[in-house]
Amino acid sequence: MNAPRITTVHTGKQETPTVKTLTFKDPSPIVPGQFYMIWIPGVDEIPMSVSYISESIKAITFRRIGDATEALFNLRKGDAIGLRGPYGNGFALKGRRPLFIAGGTGAAMLAPAIELIQRKKRTATVILGAKTKGDLFFERRLSRAGARVLVTTDDGSKGYHGFASDLAKDLLKNASYDAMYTCGPEPMMKTLLAFSGQRVFEASLERYMKCAIGLCGQCCIGEGVRVCADGPIFNGKTLKTIPDFGRFKRDASGGKISFSQAP
């Protein structure tokens, strides 16, 4: 039944000054890329990708950017949150030599996919892109899992100086990656799609969500493609048919917001 089930915060770990990971008990089986609707009673209910998966414990990792994420940020061990889901399709992860490109908090939802790849004895190359050194997280976690982690910062404070997509472009020229998995700002992902060629390409989209069960239409893109239920992961073929991709999203009222204006 799609009603929140209450769990309590198990641990809270600050990843950066603005990013935090909360773990909690939830036995649901999860495909990397799926998300929960997280209810912070009295505040809001918001979509959050799963950033850590074990049989009984799951986690979310988020940036503090508004009311709800602020409230989440301040939760302590034992505090109650509600979960609906997991929702969405998750990654298919078909490729054998995958390149992961994370922009900003995109690293949160890519991490379980990368760990799964490593457990399957394939090696993931991961580009972790951030504005600046202090915004980076999960570098150690992913290296430990065996992935080859490459860091980019917009200001050059660490790793490659430039956008994650720039480094990706370089890498794709020289190495034989057969798959690209990405989560980050949509314009970045659109740029990456342009580089993808014949490779497997999967990108995780974010849209304002209300029902998260494919009913209300709030999150729709293209010809009624529901990001909550048909996504949030879409392959390159589909994304090429969706004119909205990388261009605009919709706010809570359904009004269009162009990504060039968006914060």
Partner: protein
């Protein structure tokens, strides 16, 4: 080329004796290819979504309820499931009529009628909205005077026969397209409201909108919906919707469009027999997925075939004495 023999076209006797039943239904000037209409508020905030529902087989589409100005709706949670239905308190989110007309323009050549749902707080707002809708080529407008959880809008304007009559009259005087009035079941006597709308020259009654309900989480001891109360839809409300349609269709001569809990072809037939000329489907888009319209249409076809009913329209009102 050999001439096609009769038996090639109709390979078995069965096919010859049982032509496909006719699912058409007539709503005044509009003819629907089948009686299933997408209900307002479900997959209908943008042209792309509505297009998908058309492709999935809906006989007509009602848009999201649109107001004059953009409205974000209520904070989440806006939806929660209960064992027999959904509670929602979306709070009439919509981009406002100006933005929305762009979506309508994309649907100008839609193969099925698009019905524009509007909400407002007085006859003027409704009329203005209806005029916009008409200009952007909707086939009809539906007045949402029945949302159970939007302050100043919705139910509050639709519970009083006089206010309802004023709104309906204002709109019917303003536009030339058919005007449907969607009623709330959260009233003492829905028939009086239906009569008020009919007397003010509404072209059809749509019944029912959601019932006002609440669900409380025991662990955190508070209502789950941010708005606390919400509108109850889905299988649980079908007996109430069927009763409303039965009562209304006994007392007004305009067509009634049935809504509430329809999930299967059998549910559609029950509403038709109760007196509905067509039906709307909302929650079932969640329960059975976006392809629900073609599934339900197939179920209706199968039933009509098995029961040797040639025309769906013959069943309208069949349960009346």
């Amino acid at each position: 080329m050999a001439p096609i023999k009769h038996t090639d076209l109709y390979p078995t006797n069965q096919y010859r004796l049982r032509p496909m039943p006719d699912l058409k239904t007539i709503l005044g000037p509009l003819t629907l290819k089948n009686p299933t209409i997408l209900a307002s508020g479900i997959m209908d905030e943008d042209a792309g979504s509505m297009h998908r529902m058309i492709t999935s087989g809906a006989g007509a589409i009602v848009t999201k309820s649109i107001g004059l100005d953009p409205r974000p709706g209520y904070p989440n949670p806006t939806i929660v499931e209960t064992p027999c239905g959904l509670l929602n308190a979306m709070g009439l989110p919509n981009p406002g009529i100006t933005d929305f007309t762009h979506e309508l323009d994309l649907l100008r050549n839609a193969p099925v009628p698009i019905i524009g749902s509007i909400y407002g707080k007085d006859p003027e707002e409704f009329s203005t909205l209806a005029r916009h809708m008409e200009r952007h080529h909707v086939a009809a407008v539906e007045l949402n005077v029945s949302c159970p959880h939007a302050k100043h809008y919705g139910m509050e304007v639709g519970m009083d026969p006089q206010i309802l009559s004023n709104i309906t009259a204002a709109v019917t005087h303003t536009v030339h397209i058919p005007v449907y009035v969607k009623l709330s079941p959260n009233v003492t006597d829905i028939v009086i409201l239906a009569q008020a709308a009919a007397d003010a020259h509404a072209d059809a009654i749509v019944a029912i909108n959601t019932l006002k309900g609440m669900s409380i989480d025991l662990d955190v001891r508070r209502p789950i919906l941010a708005n606390r109360t919400g509108g109850y839809s889905g299988p649980a409300i079908k007996p109430i919707g069927v009763r409303c349609v039965y009562d209304i269709s006994q007392h007004v001569s305009i067509p009634v469009i049935g809504v509430g809990g329809i999930t299967t072809g059998a549910d559609v037939l029950e509403y038709l027999m109760a007196g509905a000329s067509a039906v709307q489907i909302g929650t079932a888009v969640y329960l059975r997925g976006p392809t629900v319209f073609s599934h339900i249409t197939q179920e209706i076809t199968d039933w009509l075939t098995t029961h040797h009913v040639a025309r769906l329209s013959d069943l309208i009102g069949a349960a009346h004495p």
